[in-house]
C-alpha cells in the first residue's frame, strides 16, 4: 500500500514538472512571423492590380460610367442599387490586403535601410489612399493600422488625405533619391526595380492628385493646374514609363478584367461605350471592343433593362485590355499627357492645349497599334475648340484610361463624358460609394451615413 502510493506520488511529481514542457507546442510551423521586403512587395503589387484596380467596386464604377453592363434584370448595381455589405470586400482589399502591408513594408524597409523599398511602399500607399478617398471621401489613415492599440480609428478628412498623399509621394521620391544599393528585381512586377520609373510614376501621381482638386473648396483650378504641370516635368516621358501589370495569360495568371467579363459574371460592354466608338468613327473600336460571339457585330447592352438579353449577342472588351494575357495600364503616359492638356487648357486656353491633346491621343493609339494614317484622320476629326475643349480632353482621356477608376473622378470633376440616364435608375448617377458594413458595425463613424448621391469633399457643386 505504502509502496503503491510512493510510486504514484513520484509519477505525479514527474508528470507535473514535465507538463509545462509537454504543452509547449504552440509555435506556428506553417507561417512565418517575419519575411523579407521582397516577399511582401510581390503580392501587394498583385493585390493592387488584380483586386484594387480591377475588383468588385472597379466593375461597379465601370457600370456607373456606362462602360460595363450587367446582363441581369434591374434593380442591380447598374441601376445604382447598393448595400453597405457590398463594399466589405473592396474596403478589406484596400485596408487589410494593400495598405496594412504597405505600411508594414515601409516600416520594415526603413528599419532595414532599404530605401528603394521604402520609396516604393510610400508611392504605392499614396496610390491606394488616392483610390480609396476618391471612392469614399473621408477615410482612416493617421489613426489606422494600429491593431489592438486602436480598434476604432477616426477617419481623416479627405483634405488631410490629399495632403498625406502629396507628402507620401514627396517622401517616396526622396527615398529613391538616396540611391540605395538594394533594389527590387523580379519581385517588382510593375517596373522590375527600375527606380527611375518609380520616380516618374510618383511625379505623375502628384500631378493627378493636384488636378483632382480643381474645384475643391478653397483651391483654385489655376493653382492646381500649375502644380500639376510642374510635377509633370519629372513625370512619365513615354509609353515605356506606363505603370502597368503584365499577365502571362495561362491558367492561374489571367488578367483580372478578362476574369470580370467571363460568362459566369454576365457582365458585357455597355451600349453607351460601344456606341461612342462608332459615333466617333474611332479606329480603336476593333482593338478595344470584341465583336459579339453570336453576331460578329459590335453591340453593347442597354443598362437597367427589365429582361435578360442574349449574352453572346453583346460585345466584351477586345483583347488589348480584355484578353487573359492583357496588361493592366493602371497609370499611363497618355494620362500624364491628358493631365498636361487639361492643365494647359486651364492656364493658357484651348489652342495651347491642342498639340498636347493630340499627342495624348496619339500616344494611346501608338500603344494600341493603330496605323499613323488612321490615327491622324481621327485626331483631325476631333479638334479642340473653346467650347468643346474640356469635354474632348476628358472624353479622350477616358478612352486612354479605359477601365480605370480615374474616369469616375474625372466625370465628377468635369461632368464629362455626358452620360444618358439609365432605365429604371433608382437615383441620379452616384457620386461616391457606400461605406462598408464591416466598418459601420465595428467602428461607427459619423461619415458612414453617406448615400450614393452624396458628394465627396473635392466634388463641390
Amino acid at each position: 500500500m505504502k509502496k503503491i502510493s510512493m510510486i504514484l506520488m513520484s509519477c505525479i511529481l514527474i508528470s507535473v514538472s514535465g507538463c509545462k514542457k509537454y504543452i509547449d507546442v504552440n509555435t506556428n510551423p506553417n507561417q512565418p512571423l517575419d519575411v523579407a521586403e521582397a516577399q511582401i512587395l510581390a503580392p501587394v503589387e498583385v493585390a493592387i492590380s488584380s483586386k484594387l484596380y480591377a475588383g468588385n467596386v472597379a466593375v461597379i464604377v465601370q457600370e456607373y460610367m456606362q462602360v460595363a453592363a450587367l446582363n441581369q434584370v434591374a434593380p442591380n448595381a447598374g441601376t445604382y442599387l447598393m448595400y453597405n455589405t457590398d463594399m466589405n470586400d473592396d474596403w478589406r482589399t484596400l485596408y487589410v490586403n494593400c495598405l496594412n502591408n504597405l505600411v508594414t513594408l515601409n516600416a520594415k524597409a526603413v528599419a532595414d535601410g532599404k530605401t528603394n523599398y521604402a520609396g516604393i511602399a510610400k508611392i504605392l500607399t499614396a496610390y491606394c489612399l488616392g483610390t480609396g478617398t476618391d471612392l469614399w471621401g473621408d477615410i482612416p489613415y493617421s489613426q489606422a493600422f494600429k491593431g489592438t492599440a486602436n480598434f476604432t480609428p477616426v477617419y481623416d478628412t479627405q483634405k488631410d488625405i490629399y495632403t498625406t498623399i502629396q507628402s507620401l509621394l514627396d517622401a517616396g521620391i526622396a527615398d529613391i533619391a538616396k540611391n540605395g544599393i538594394i533594389s527590387p528585381g523580379g519581385d517588382d512586377f510593375f517596373y522590375a526595380g527600375d527606380m527611375s520609373k518609380w520616380t516618374k510614376l510618383a511625379y505623375t501621381l502628384k500631378a493627378r492628385y493636384y488636378m483632382h482638386l480643381t474645384k475643391a473648396p478653397g483651391y483654385t483650378a489655376a493653382t492646381q493646374a500649375q502644380l500639376a504641370l510642374t510635377a509633370l516635368q519629372n513625370g512619365m516621358q513615354s509609353n515605356d514609363d506606363d505603370f502597368k501589370m503584365a499577365y502571362g495569360g495561362a491558367a492561374g495568371a489571367e488578367n483580372p478584367w478578362q476574369q470580370n467579363f467571363i460568362s459566369a459574371s454576365t457582365i458585357v460592354m455597355a451600349s453607351t461605350a460601344v456606341n461612342g466608338f462608332k459615333t466617333r468613327n474611332d479606329p480603336r473600336l476593333t482593338i478595344m471592343v470584341a465583336p459579339a460571339l453570336a453576331t460578329s457585330l459590335y453591340t453593347g447592352l442597354d443598362q437597367g433593362l427589365s429582361t435578360i438579353g442574349q449574352l453572346e449577342e453583346y460585345s466584351r472588351p477586345g483583347s488589348f485590355y480584355g484578353a487573359a494575357g492583357a496588361s493592366n495600364y493602371i497609370v499611363n503616359y497618355s494620362e500624364a499627357l491628358f493631365i498636361k492638356a487639361e492643365a494647359t487648357l486651364i492656364l493658357s486656353g484651348f489652342s495651347s492645349a491642342q498639340a498636347i491633346y493630340q499627342s495624348a491621343i496619339s500616344s494611346h493609339m501608338t500603344k494600341l497599334g493603330v496605323s499613323t494614317a488612321n490615327a491622324n484622320t481621327y485626331i483631325a476629326s476631333r479638334p479642340l475648340t473653346n467650347a468643346n475643349a474640356e469635354q474632348l480632353i476628358i472624353e479622350e482621356k477616358g478612352i486612354a484610361n479605359f477601365l480605370s477608376l480615374e474616369n469616375f473622378t474625372d466625370f465628377r470633376r468635369t461632368g464629362f463624358p455626358i452620360l444618358p440616364a439609365v432605365k429604371n435608375a433608382l437615383s441620379a448617377i452616384p457620386r461616391r460609394v457606400l461605406y462598408p458594413q464591416t466598418e459601420i458595425i465595428s467602428n461607427p463613424q459619423p461619415q458612414q451615413s453617406a448615400k450614393l448621391t452624396d458628394r465627396v469633399w473635392w466634388d463641390a457643386q
Binding site: V25, Q31, A38, N97, N101
Partner: protein, 1011 residues
C-alpha cells in the same frame, strides 16, 4: 392462464429451496434446469455458475443447463439484457430459473465520464441512455442521426441527403460563439475526432463519426450538463456522447450474428411549379437561341412548339434516381472462463439519389478481454474503417447540379448537355448543365481509420482499482476534386488533391477506491489525462487542365501547393469523490486542473470542478407507498468548466502565403518565380486564456408502479463567460479584419422532460412509450466591448438576441408595421437591414412507441420541432426565376400595404412576375417557420418462434421492415425537409435550406440471423 402456471412453479421452486434446503447431503448430484424470461421464453447462452467455485456452464438453445454439484449450492445466473440472479438450490434436479429483463432504472448501470460505471439511481446529474438496438433501428450510417429526436436537451441537425453527409449535435444550446459547438464523442473512454471533412467545394462534408459502425454499439449515454462532463475538461464543454461498444461474455460458446439490410430511398423535394414554360412576361423562350434563366413564360398546357404541344420535363424526376443501401453485418462473440471476445465486420454501401454519389464503409471491429491474473483484467480492441465518399458540390455554387435542377424550366430538355463543338448546352448563362456536372465534376474522399484501445484494470486490493487506458485515433484522408475544362466557373478546369494525416492520442491513468464506513459509502477517483492531437495536410491546387478525362494533377498547367501542420496538446489532473449516506443522500465532488497548449503561457493552466448532490426521498416511503411510487429523487448541481475552443497558433500574427484561402483572385503564390506573403488578416491575441462555462442544474426523477411510469425533469442555467471568439470581426481600418477575443458572454436556460410509460405489460403484449421534451432559451449577452454584432455565416451574433439570429434585408414598413408600397404597386426593401428570424426552435420533442405482441414487434417514432426559422434559399432564388409552387399563382394582385404616393391603402395591381421578382430582393420574404412533425421511423418486426427453429442451426431469426421519414407535416416550410442545414454542421452553416441534395424517404428491409 400461463402466468398463473408460472407463478405456481415459482412458488414451488422457492418452497423446494426452503423446505428441502436443509436436508441436503454431501453427494455429487447433477443439477438440471432451465433459464427463461418473465414471458416464459427460454434464454439461450445464459451463464450459470456455482458461487464460490470456478464451475460454470451456459444454457443451450432451449435455455437448458446441467451442472454437477456436491450439495446445496448457490447458482449465479446471468445473461445479457437480464438482471443477474443468485438462486440457492439443493438436490432438486429440475430447476427453473426466471430472469427479469434488465430495463429497470432502479438498477440501471450507466457509463459516466472517464468510463466510470455507476448506478443511475445515485447520479447527481442528468444523462440519457440510448440502447444499441434502438440505434440500429435508425438505419443511418451516422450514429448521431440514429439518436435524432430521442434525447431531451439535444439538438441534431442533418445537413444534406448526399450519402455520408455531416450532422450537427448540440447539447443544451450553443456554448461557444465560433469554432465548434458539437458534443465530444467518446468511444470506450477514448475521445475520437468528429470533424467535418471531405468537401473541397461548396456544401457539407462528412462527420468523421460516420466511420463508426452503429451495430458495434452496446449503448450510448448522453452526458448533458457541466456537472456530468466536468471530468472531461475543456474537451467536454459542449456535452459528451459516451459510446460503449459491445463485448463478448465469459463462458459462452461462439454466437454468430448476421444482419442484412436493404433499403430504397426517394428524395424529399421542394415544391416546384409545373405549369409555366421558360420565358418572361408570358412570352416563351426556347432556351436554345433565346436564353433566359426565368420560367415566367406561357402556360405549358396551351403552349405549342413548332405546332406540337410542348413536352413537359419534370426535371427532378428525370434527374434523381431511387437510392439503394446495402448493409451487411457479421459478428461473432463468446468467451472462455477468463476471456471473452467480440468480432464484427460490416459492409455499408449507399448509392445516393443523385447519380455518382455514394458512401461506402467497410469496418472491422475486434475486442478481446482477458483476465491475465486474478486481479488484472486487460482489454484490447481495434476498430478499422475504410470509408469512401463520392459527392458533388451543393448549394448555390455555380458547380452545384441540384441548383440548376430545381430552377430549370419544365419546357426545356437538359439533354444532351453538350453542343456539337463540345461546349456546354444550357437554357441560360452562368451555370453548368447538371448532367454535364455528373460527367465532369467529382469530389471524392477516402478515409482509412484505426481506433486502437488498450485498457488494464488492476485490483491490488478489494477496494482499490488502478485503471490504465490508452487509445488512439489515427486516420489518413485523401480528398480529390476534379472539374473539367469548359466549366462555366473555371473555364480552364481544376484539380485539387488534399491529403490529411490525423492522429490523436489519449491516455488516462486513474486510481479508484471504494469503501464503506458505517453508514457512509465513499468512492474516490484520482487520475491523470494526457491528450495530443496532430494533423498534417498537403493541399495541391491545379488549374489549366491540358489532358481531358485525366483525373490526375499532372494534367494541370499551374499547380500550387500548401502544407500545414497543427499540434494541440492538453494535460489534466482530476479527482472525483462520491459520498453516499445510507443510500439516500449523495454528495459528489469533482475537480480538474487542465493545461492547454493553445492558450498563452501565462494562462495555460486552469482549474475547475463541480459540486452536486442528490436526495432519494423515496427511501423514506413505506413499503406500501413504494408499491405506488418506487422512486423519488431530487438532484442539484453546480459546475464550472474551462474551455480552450480555439485553434492552435492564435496568439501571434504571422505572414500568410498568398495561396489557397488567401489566393489573390485567381493568382496564387509562388507566382512568376516569386514567393509571396502578406500579413495575416487575423490579428493574434497573445493573452488568450480559457473560456468558462458555469452551469446550474436541478432535477427530479420519479418512478411509479415499479417504474411502469417514470418521469425525469431537469432545469439548467448555463452561462459562458470570457468566451473565446476566434476571428471576431474588427474594423478593417485597424489593418486586420478579425482577431480572437476572450470576452463573449452567452447564456442558455432550458427544461428537459423525459417520460417513460409502460401502459401494457403482459406475457404476450407489451407497450412501451417514451416522450421527451426540451425547451432551451439562448441569449448573447456580450461580444467584445461595445461591439453589438458579428457575422457568423448565414446567421449573425447580436447582443441581446439568441445565438443564431438571421439578419438581413427586410420589407420597408410603416410605423404601424404595414408594408410600404411604391408607386408601381410593389413592396420594397428597407434601406437598413434588421433581425428577420431566429433559427432556434421554441421547443422540441419526440414520442417513441414500442409495441410487442407475441412474435411481432411494432414501433413508431414521431418527433416535433416547434418554431425555428429557416432561410429558404431555394425559394429565394426561385422567386426570381418563377419556379416555386407559389408562383403558379401569377395573376394580377394588389399587395396589401400603404402606398407611399397616396398615404392610403395600396390600390395598384401588379402581376406575379413583378411581385416575386421584387420580393426576391428581400430576404425576409423567404424566412419560413421550420415547425414540423415528422414520422421519423416506423418499424414492423417478426421474430420466428424459437420452437420452430428446433432442429435448425439457428438460435434466433428476425425480420423487419422499417420506414423512415414516411410523413412530414411542415405547415410553413415549402422546401423538402425542414430539418436540413445545407452547408454542413459548422456553427456558421446553420439556418439555411439551399439546393442541397434532398434528404430521403426510405424503406428498409432487414433480416437478422443468430447462430
Amino acid at each position: 392462464m400461463k402466468l398463473k402456471r408460472l407463478f405456481k412453479r415459482l412458488v414451488l421452486l422457492f418452497l423446494g429451496i426452503f423446505v428441502f434446503g436443509y436436508n441436503a447431503k454431501a453427494q455429487i448430484i447433477t443439477l438440471k434446469g432451465k433459464v427463461s424470461d418473465e414471458k416464459g421464453l427460454s434464454i439461450p447462452g445464459a451463464s450459470v455458475k456455482i458461487k464460490g467455485t470456478r464451475k460454470g456452464t451456459i444454457t443451450n438453445s432451449e435455455g437448458i443447463f446441467t451442472i454437477d454439484s456436491n450439495g446445496p449450492v448457490i447458482l449465479s445466473v446471468s445473461a445479457i439484457g437480464y438482471t443477474a440472479k443468485e438462486v440457492k438450490v439443493s438436490n432438486i434436479s429440475n430447476v427453473n430459473i426466471i430472469l427479469e429483463e434488465d430495463n429497470k432504472t432502479l438498477s440501471e448501470v450507466v457509463v459516466t465520464a472517464l468510463g466510470i460505471k455507476r448506478d443511475k439511481k445515485v447520479l447527481t446529474y442528468s444523462s440519457q441512455e440510448i440502447k444499441g438496438t434502438d440505434l440500429v433501428q435508425g438505419k443511418d450510417p451516422n450514429l448521431v442521426n440514429d439518436i435524432a429526436g430521442k434525447v431531451s436537451g439535444v439538438q441534431i441537425t442533418s445537413s444534406s441527403g448526399s450519402p455520408g453527409s455531416s450532422t450537427r449535435i448540440v447539447v443544451r444550446g450553443a456554448s461557444s460563439f465560433y469554432g465548434n459547438n458539437d458534443a465530444l464523442m467518446v468511444v470506450d473512454g477514448i475521445p475520437i475526432d468528429n470533424s467535418e471533412t471531405g468537401n473541397l467545394n461548396s456544401g457539407p462534408g462528412s462527420s468523421r463519426v460516420a466511420d463508426i459502425d452503429p451495430s458495434i454499439i452496446e449503448n450510448i449515454n448522453v452526458l448533458k450538463g457541466a456537472a456530468a462532463t466536468a471530468l472531461y475538461g475543456s474537451l467536454g464543454a459542449n456535452g459528451v456522447i459516451i459510446i460503449t461498444t459491445k463485448t463478448g461474455s465469459a463462458n459462452k460458446k461462439p454466437t454468430i450474428n448476421f444482419t442484412s439490410d436493404f433499403s430504397f430511398e426517394n428524395p424529399l423535394l421542394p415544391q416546384i411549379q409545373s405549369k409555366y414554360a421558360q420565358g418572361t412576361n408570358g412570352i416563351y423562350y426556347n432556351g436554345d437561341d433565346q436564353k433566359t434563366s426565368t420560367s415566367w413564360g406561357p402556360l405549358m398546357d396551351t403552349l405549342k412548339i413548332n405546332g406540337q404541344p410542348a413536352k413537359k420535363y419534370n426535371q427532378s424526376d428525370l434527374f434523381f434516381k431511387t437510392g439503394h443501401t446495402y448493409n451487411n453485418v457479421f459478428s461473432v462473440n463468446g468467451g472462455g472462463a477468463a476471456s471473452n471476445y467480440y468480432i464484427s465486420y460490416s459492409n455499408f454501401n449507399q448509392q445516393g439519389t443523385v447519380p455518382n454519389t455514394k458512401f461506402l464503409r467497410n469496418s472491422v471491429f475486434a475486442k478481446y478481454s482477458a483476465q491475465i491474473l486474478p486481479n488484472l483484467t486487460t482489454t484490447f480492441q481495434l476498430n478499422y474503417t475504410n470509408s469512401q465518399n463520392d459527392r458533388l458540390p451543393e448549394g448555390y455554387a455555380l458547380e452545384s447540379p441540384v441548383w440548376t435542377i430545381f430552377t430549370a424550366p419544365i419546357s426545356y430538355n437538359l439533354l444532351p448537355y453538350e453542343n456539337a463543338d463540345g461546349t456546354q448546352r444550357l437554357y441560360r448563362y452562368s451555370r453548368n448543365n447538371p448532367y454535364w456536372v455528373l460527367d465532369n465534376i467529382s469530389n471524392k474522399s477516402g478515409v482509412n481509420r484505426f481506433l486502437p484501445t488498450f485498457t488494464a484494470d488492476y485490483k491490488p486490493l478489494t477496494w482499490l482499482t488502478v485503471t490504465e487506458r490508452f487509445g488512439a485515433d489515427v486516420y489518413t484522408e485523401q480528398d480529390r476534386y476534379h472539374e473539367s475544362a469548359e466549366s462555366v466557373s473555371n473555364p480552364t478546369g481544376r484539380i485539387v488533391v488534399n491529403n490529411t494525416n490525423f492522429r490523436q492520442f489519449n491516455n488516462d491513468l486513474l486510481i479508484s477506491a471504494n469503501h464503506q464506513f458505517g453508514d457512509f459509502n465513499i468512492d474516490g477517483v484520482i487520475g491523470n489525462n494526457i491528450y495530443s492531437q496532430y494533423s498534417e495536410t498537403a493541399y495541391a491546387n491545379g488549374v489549366g487542365l491540358s489532358v481531358a478525362d485525366l483525373d490526375n494533377i499532372s494534367s494541370a498547367s499551374t499547380v500550387t501547393f500548401i502544407e500545414n501542420q497543427y499540434n494541440t496538446r492538453r494535460i489534466g489532473f482530476y479527482a472525483q469523490s462520491n459520498i453516499e449516506y445510507k443510500k439516500f443522500l449523495i454528495l459528489s465532488l469533482t475537480g480538474r486542473y487542465d493545461g492547454s497548449s493553445v492558450l498563452s503561457t501565462a494562462h495555460n493552466f486552469y482549474p475547475y470542478g463541480s459540486v452536486a448532490t442528490s436526495f432519494i426521498f423515496s427511501e423514506f416511503f413505506s413499503k406500501e407507498f413504494q408499491d405506488i411510487m418506487n422512486l423519488g429523487k431530487f438532484r442539484i448541481s453546480y459546475a464550472t468548466i474551462g474551455g480552450s475552443n480555439v485553434v492552435p497558433y492564435s496568439l501571434t500574427t504571422p505572414y500568410l502565403t498568398q495561396s489557397k484561402d488567401n489566393i489573390i483572385r485567381n493568382i496564387s503564390f509562388p507566382y512568376n518565380g516569386q514567393a509571396g506573403f502578406l500579413l495575416s488578416p487575423t490579428l493574434g491575441n497573445p493573452n488568450l486564456k480559457n473560456e468558462r462555462i458555469n452551469e446550474f442544474e436541478a432535477g427530479f426523477e420519479t418512478g411509479f408502479f415499479n417504474n411502469r411510469i417514470s418521469l425525469e425533469a431537469s432545469y439548467f442555467a448555463k452561462k459562458t463567460t470570457d468566451g473565446l471568439i476566434p476571428g471576431v470581426s474588427i474594423a478593417p481600418s485597424t489593418g486586420y479584419d478579425g482577431t480572437t477575443v476572450n470576452t463573449g458572454i452567452m447564456q442558455n436556460r432550458g427544461i428537459e422532460l423525459l417520460l417513460n410509460v409502460v401502459p401494457v405489460k403482459t406475457k404476450d403484449f407489451t407497450w412501451n412509450m417514451t416522450i421527451n421534451y426540451s425547451r432551451i432559451r439562448n441569449k448573447v449577452l456580450a461580444i467584445d466591448g461595445d461591439l453589438q454584432q458579428i457575422g457568423n455565416g448565414f446567421t449573425t451574433i447580436i447582443v441581446g438576441q439568441p445565438y443564431g439570429t438571421i439578419y438581413g434585408t427586410r420589407y420597408a414598413r410603416t410605423a404601424q408595421g404595414q408594408l410600404r408600397i411604391d408607386a408601381s404597386g410593389l413592396p420594397y426593401a428597407d434601406a437598413d437591414q434588421g433581425v428577420i428570424g431566429n433559427i432556434n426552435p421554441d421547443w422540441t420533442g419526440g414520442i417513441a412507441n414500442n409495441i410487442r405482441y407475441k412474435q411481432f414487434n411494432f414501433s413508431f417514432f414521431f418527433d416535433v420541432k416547434k418554431g425555428g426559422d429557416i432561410q429558404n434559399n431555394v425559394d429565394g432564388y426561385g422567386y426570381f426565376y418563377g419556379t416555386p409552387k407559389v408562383t403558379e399563382n401569377r395573376g394580377l394582385r394588389v399587395v396589401p400595404g400603404v402606398s407611399d404616393a397616396t398615404g392610403q391603402a395600396n390600390t395598384v395591381a401588379v402581376d406575379g412576375q413583378a411581385y416575386y421578382q421584387r420580393i426576391n430582393g428581400v430576404t425576409e420574404s423567404v424566412i419560413q417557420d421550420g415547425t414540423y412533425i415528422k414520422l421519423r421511423n416506423v418499424s414492423v418486426g417478426y421474430t420466428v418462434k424459437p420452437s420452430w427453429l428446433r432442429g435448425s442451426p439457428f438460435k434466433a431469426v428476425n425480420f423487419s421492415v422499417t420506414g423512415r421519414n414516411l410523413w412530414i407535416y411542415a405547415p410553413h416550410f415549402t422546401g423538402g425537409d425542414p430539418e436540413v442545414s445545407s452547408f454542413g454542421s459548422s456553427n456558421g452553416s446553420q439556418g439555411i435550406y439551399s439546393f442541397s441534395v434532398p434528404t430521403s424517404r426510405s424503406i428498409d428491409f432487414s433480416m437478422k440471423l443468430t447462430l
